[in-house]
Amino acid sequence: MNPTPRDYHDIPGTYVFDGAHQRKGYWLNMFCKSLDLAANRERFRAAPADYLAGFPMTDAQRDAVLLRDWLGLLRLGGNIYYTFKLAIFDGLSMQHVGAAMSGTGMTVDDFRQMMVSGGRPAEGMRSRRENREACHG
């Protein structure tokens, strides 16, 4: 499915889990969901690639899992509530993953500090179009 453009594609750094995204990431997310079971977590820990081979995912998705490419996982159809199960598996917090997804080399401490200081401001993060216009205007 070639996703038709949607208004929300204009929002920067945001991966809306719509139908197109769900179809793309279905088995990636279902792999993550499978980690709910302790037995599956053990199998995945023992032989990550073998375990992943049991899910009809793309190679890019498998690589993103193995590399813990948190942003890549979203781009490949992941949903944060599912990919976060992989973070829990690794013993990571949501702030850890949040820092990693920021894509700016932020550390988890930077991220925590940003939150305590009022969070990431919406200014400049609302619209790709507006940002472009502001740049070139």
Binding site: Y15, F17, K33, G98, G103, P121, A122, R126
Partner: protein, 291 residues
């Protein structure tokens, strides 16, 4: 006849549950948040609802991608806390109210809401954290609970307007229940936050405060923000504030604010808390309410 005694809106941040479970509520980070909850705890202790209808979302816990109900209403006699990867939260089992649940399910479906009836389900932090917010750490929860699980993960969630209308229908259904029950509606989730992507950590206090103002005095306006605007302003996970609107719809157009609290941050989230009563009820002398 059952009676709608009021409504609470609260974020359901998992870290709040963890702070309660691990005895960190007096840590400097958490103290302001828990201090801000006290007035809501006082309200619920004073008004003593028999049943709380908790409007929440499941976070890939009980439900998964196979099946995504827009509105799933629990009709079970009880609900076990779900293991979200850390073991289930050490909280009491949630006791249901199946008679009222079935009455709601039947009324709502005949009233043209396309409810999914859930006879067996577990409940995750989306439901148990609000109980911890209101009740702390009791041996058993002091009221029965009806879970109303709303899809806000798979786009599109129900619109704000639909949620408001569902609340109105819940009010009608509650008031036609032939039992002497005091019922509160708890809307949970939000306020602004985004867990995912390069915008992770987004908070928009200005939007939240304006939305809370509308929520209290102009609920139709609060309900009219479309999904794109909510995604943009409140963040991809802040969109879940639509669940508060179910609570708002269950109250009368004119409400009295019993308590309002807002704090940034609770973990990655703007924490909001609101306690409302119908204006007509709030103006009653206190003596008319149970001590």
């Amino acid at each position: 006849m059952a009676e709608l005694i009021g409504g609470v809106g609260t974020s359901h941040v998992p870290a709040i549950g963890a702070a309660v479970d691990h005895g960190k509520t007096q840590d400097p980070y958490w103290k302001p948040v828990f201090d801000g909850m006290q007035a809501a705890r006082d309200w619920v202790a004073r008004t003593r609802p028999d049943v709380c209808i908790v409007v929440y979302n499941d976070h890939a816990s009980c439900f998964s991608l196979e099946l995504t109900p827009t509105f799933a209403l629990g009709v079970a006699s009880h609900y076990e806390p779900h293991d979200e990867g850390y073991g289930p939260r050490p909280v009491p089992r949630v006791e249901g109210a199946p008679e009222l649940s079935w009455h709601l399910a039947e009324s709502l479906i005949l009233d043209e809401f396309d409810i999914t009836i859930a006879s067996q389900m577990t409940v995750d932090h989306g439901l148990t954290v609000p109980l911890s917010v209101l009740f702390g750490q009791p041996e058993s929860w002091p009221c029965r609970v009806i879970p109303l699980c709303v899809n806000v993960i798979q786009y599109p969630p129900p619109t704000g307007q639909r949620c408001l209308k569902l609340g109105q229908a819940i009010r009608r259904a509650v008031e036609s229940f032939p039992g002497d029950l005091r019922v509160a509606v708890i809307g949970t989730g939000g306020l602004s936050h985004q867990l995912q992507g390069e915008r992770a950590g987004l908070i928009n206090a200005e939007f939240d405060q304006r939305w809370l103002d509308e929520f209290v005095t102009e609920p139709d306006k609060a309900a009219a923000h479309d999904h794109v605007e909510l995604l943009r302003e409140a963040g991809s996970e802040g969109l879940e504030c639509v669940m508060w609107l179910v609570m708002r719809g269950a109250l009368q157009p004119e409400v009295e604010v019993v308590h309002r609290f807002y704090h940034v941050p609770a973990s990655n989230t703007a924490y909001g808390l609101l306690v409302l009563e119908d204006a007509a009820r709030a103006s009653r002398p206190l003596a008319a309410q149970p001590a």
